[in-house]
Symmetry: C3
Subunit: 152 residues, 3 copies
């Protein structure tokens, strides 16, 4: 049996774009799956690709488990262990949480894509899209959402 299945093609006729604004309160994960689904609906998306891009350097975009919130707690713990505060960083003028935030953003990334099939995100059963805030205090974060594909 071939490991490839469900091959199909469409003609791309649109690139839709919008800005999603997320208010964060402190370090941690904010799920944005529903907001991204709203964008796809507003854009009339059928088949194609969803692209998300975060316009900041101290937060990131992550696809992770959406079932047990303990997972998000542990992901944060892991990032703190990998990029601790007060670890001899040279750049410290913006507070002890700033340089660790940049490191966490570098490790987890600010851009991602997800396939779209029949107007829906083709994510796995346990997957959700998250904005990961790495700063201590509230921030307004902008995500550019784009859809490349066919319209419904």
């Amino acid at each position: 049996m071939s490991p490839l299945s469900d091959l199909r093609s469409i003609a791309p006729d649109t690139i839709a774009s919008a800005t999603l604004t997320v208010e964060t309160r402190h370090e941690g994960f904010t799920e944005i799956t529903r907001e991204v689904a709203d964008f796809l609906r507003a854009a009339g998306a059928a088949d194609g690709v969803l692209l998300a891009y975060l316009r900041h350097t101290s937060a990131s975009l992550v696809i992770q488990e959406n079932a047990d919130p303990d997972v998000q707690t542990d992901l944060e713990t892991a990032l703190v262990r990998l990029a601790p505060a007060n670890a001899g960083w040279v750049h410290d003028t913006e507070g002890p949480d700033d340089m660790p935030a940049h490191i966490k953003a570098m490790l987890t990334g600010v851009s991602l894509h997800v396939p779209v099939i029949g107007g829906r995100l083709a994510i796995g059963t346990w997957q959700g899209l998250y904005l990961a805030e790495h700063r201590d205090r509230p921030h307004t974060r902008e995500i550019v959402l784009q859809f490349i594909g066919s319209k419904s």
Copy 2:
């Protein structure tokens, strides 16, 4: 001399999609470069972009050296050091290898893209595409492959 070379344009006329299923046996890297090339051939791809998306949260997609298998051994060792088992994780109901697997997936990512030129992946000489399994036991993993570009 300009650092930019080989500028050219095509009109995108297709987005092809398919699902690649990979059976993993245990933690480690499985090369999928040939399967992705098969997809491009089946899709009749000429010039454009290959997108790959993994529908799971405890495995990831990585582009890495395909020459010396020792590299993959060391990459696994590095991930175990960065996300060790039994390190005080709150989420432990699915076994000691589960939370480290989520952390490894967050650090290495589940989505990537590769340029396609003349129907071939424009990867470097030493690059291969890999599914990185982060769980101990066998899993069935689904990767959504997409090609955006022109048909041959």
Copy 3:
């Protein structure tokens, strides 16, 4: 108020590609934002997506703060701490900086995308695009740049 704003659509009519060559001297970050902007201009890009792909396994592409160069120093320090030399790696035939370079590339990635609006990269105020060299000695690095979208 909806968190979604500025929704708009265009018809994609081009995929432009070019190769950007960057000469690195040693470990560290080289900003390529201007070179990528030059590519968009040469390609006649209007609205769409910029994709960048690095054809190597011991360097990576990173979007990070472009204001204070100390940030880049600390990012390098963080990567050295996460992937130290002489840490018992099996793969050591290419020198003590080689295996750490592969690990750093795995953690930070070789592919990324940025939205393009009105011919310009829609990056945040403090964001820049960087090639991160992880080897000690000079290397010639190739980045495939692609633009999917509409022409101006």
